[in-house]
């Protein structure tokens, strides 16, 4: 039963601003993922919530109470670190029971709670080992177990899966999502991996340079990114972002001049005028090869992923355009193809990168 609220939270190290004016309200039992490129201030924000980093400006509220001046040990939150930060000289059981021990919980209750958490994470057989006798994945579980045992108000995760191999990461992702449901807990999760964000979050907060660019449900971000940064960051393979100029407006359609001489006709339900520079955003799966049109390019690279095939097409722009086609599509390198666009899955951004809203 815990909520978290950030009111105009800012952080500077010396005179360098790292987190700027972040506002966020996390609901009870919500799974919020903070995502953004390396160095954008995610960890710093999380550490301010934890109480490990002083808040330069603004307020952090837990359950409606300002906790700016409450120290980390008194906030009642649990954090899982990227490096796991297990206590090297203690057994797994002692690691997991440490918080309870400090809280004065008696030995029997402690052991019972540790065992309960160990069962959830399949750690029962490892309780007497020390951290250095565990694999990376097992250490990770212990770190999570240490958080579970405490029954904290809010779980904080700082890139907990980034030291694991790809297969284990997928498995732990699923387990964490399941854990979130079974514990009914409020969780805040930091990652720079947008797939983790998309798969686990109730709500994603995309950050860049210390600023929240957009917050919303995964599909909301996917379908309605507010700017080119979010558009390019969310989704894999990435959205194609192509600079273009409005060449003509005919009735309710606008003709866009693309680099390399291609043209694209789009429904002009957005505020467009002739000569305006825009960025066209098209997801790879919204592009396909067609028989007629004026948007063309030559296939440069083909990636057969098994479930689908990605074609990288050179239309004469700076970057190759990614097109997602069926896994067994008949394509060959240097084929010159015409591209068709799913018109209602097309995004337009102005010259500052902000989304042009459909009327």
């Amino acid at each position: 039963m815990s909520t978290l609220e950030l009111k105009s939270v800012s952080k500077s190290f010396g005179s360098v601003p790292v987190v700027r004016d972040v506002n966020l309200a996390v609901k009870d039992r919500e799974f919020v993922v903070l995502v953004g490129p390396s160095g954008c201030g995610k960890s710093t924000l999380l550490r301010m919530i934890a109480g490990l980093e002083e808040i330069t400006e603004g307020e952090v509220l837990i359950d409606g109470e300002v906790v700016n001046d409450v120290s980390a040990d008194a906030r009642g939150l649990a954090m899982v670190f990227q490096s796991y930060a297990l206590y090297p000289h203690m057994t797994v059981a002692d690691n997991m029971g440490f918080a309870l021990k400090l809280a004065g919980v008696d030995k029997a209750t402690r052991a019972a709670k540790v065992l309960e958490a160990a069962k959830i994470l399949q750690l029962e057989h490892l309780l007497e080992r020390r951290p250095k006798e565990l694999s990376g994945g097992q250490r990770q579980r212990v770190a999570i177990g240490r958080a579970i045992v405490r029954n904290p108000k809010i779980f904080l995760f700082d890139e907990p899966l980034s030291n694991l191999d790809a297969a284990l990461r997928v498995q732990m992702r699923i387990e964490l999502a399941r854990l979130h449901r079974s514990l009914d807990a409020t969780m805040i999760y930091v990652t720079h991996d947008q797939i983790e964000a998309m798969t686990m979050a109730d709500r994603i907060v995309v950050m860049r340079d210390g600023i929240v660019e957009q917050a919303g449900a995964p599909l909301e971000l996917y379908e309605r990114p507010v700017n080119t940064f979010v558009a390019g960051f969310i989704g894999s393979p990435k959205m194609n972002l192509i600079g273009a100029t409005v060449q003509a407006i005919e009735g309710n359609r606008a003709l866009l001049a693309m680099p390399g001489g291609s043209r694209l006709s789009v429904e002009a339900e957005m505020p467009l005028s002739v000569g305006r520079k825009v960025t066209v955003g098209i997801r790879p799966e919204a592009l396909h090869f067609v028989d007629e049109g004026e948007f063309a390019g030559a296939i440069n690279v083909i990636e057969r992923l098994g479930s689908e095939t990605l074609c990288y097409v050179d239309i004469g722009a700076d970057d190759l355009v990614t097109v997602e086609v069926a896994h067994d599509a008949e394509v060959a390198i240097n084929d010159r193809r015409l591209l068709g666009v799913d018109n209602n899955r097309l995004h337009l951004f102005d010259d500052k990168g902000l989304a042009l809203v459909r009327r």
């Binding site: 490096s83 930060a85 297990l86 206590y87 000289h89 240490r146």
Partner: protein, 275 residues
């Protein structure tokens, strides 16, 4: 050719090493021998290597200087001053290692510079203070002064051991509800135990060998072995055998203690693998 050349070089180095070691050790060895000689044997020319050993010197020295009382003073001063220094240094080192600011370095250098200051520079003020608070010739005053003079070194050593502990481990403990003293007790002390032990050992040895303050602010009541030997040397300057016995008796305890603890010391000084 190079294999034999290398071997020869190695042999040469070993011989030089042993020679230097022997030259350095010889006075100690000679003193130890002399301690068991009669005065005539000790003064004999040419020097005697074989003689009838006797414990007379020790008995006489012990009686004249009150060996046991001074030894007890030495033990209590060196151990208690070490505990005192460790208790003061641990929180200081904790703060500097984990909550340092950009002035921490300057503070640490300043502390060390105090250690470099010649003690004689503050002898008179401290002497006068001790006179006015009536603490002259007390083990209490000696313990506090020696403890404080070893403090910078102890802080430095603890600081470097604490630095080895990844700060995320302490942050995890904070999230688990551990306040600073709890972190010290349950994490830093167990994790850096070998380092703390070698710090303690070094501080004990330094305190044991401390003679400046012992000579200047203590006398018969609180005097340590260092003082006893010094005063004995003044009065018995020409009696080599007795003087040797006294010196041997004053260094032997700490040598034996150090020898027993040397594994601990080596472990602590080469320690650095908590990660």
């Amino acid at each position: 050719m190079s294999a034999t050349k290398k071997k020869r070089q190695k042999l040469l180095r070993a011989i030089v090493g042993w020679l230097v070691a022997l030259i350095m050790f010889f006075p100690v060895f000679w003193m130890a021998l002399a301690a068991f000689k009669t005065e005539q044997d000790a003064a004999a020319l040419p020097p005697l290597l074989f003689f009838h050993p006797t414990l007379e010197n020790f008995a006489e020295m012990s009686e004249r200087v009150g060996y046991l009382r001074h030894a007890w003073n030495s033990i209590s001063v060196s151990f208690i001053s070490t505990i005192f220094a460790l208790l003061l240094a641990a929180p200081a080192a904790y703060v500097m290692a984990f909550h340092g600011t950009n002035r921490t370095r300057a503070v640490m250098l300043w502390m060390l510079s105090i250690r470099f200051m010649p003690a004689v520079g503050v002898l008179i003020p401290i002497y006068l203070i001790l006179v006015s608070v009536r603490l002259l010739d007390t083990t209490f005053a000696l313990t506090v002064i020696i403890g404080l003079s070893n403090l910078p070194l102890v802080v430095w050593m603890l600081y470097s051991y604490f630095k080895e502990v990844p700060s995320e481990i302490l942050e995890a403990a904070r999230m688990d509800g551990a306040r600073p003293l709890t972190q010290l007790r349950y994490l830093l002390v167990p994790l850096t135990a070998p380092g703390i032990a070698s710090t303690a050992l070094l501080s004990i040895i330094l305190a044991w060998n401390e003679s400046f303050w012992a000579i200047n602010i203590t006398a018969t009541d609180a005097g340590t072995l260092a003082l006893a030997i010094a005063s004995f040397a003044n009065s018995e300057g020409l009696f080599w055998a007795k003087l040797s016995a006294a010196s041997l008796a004053s260094v032997a305890p700490i040598l034996i203690f150090g020898w027993i603890m040397q594994r601990q010391l080596v472990r602590g000084l080469t320690f650095g693998a908590v990660k």
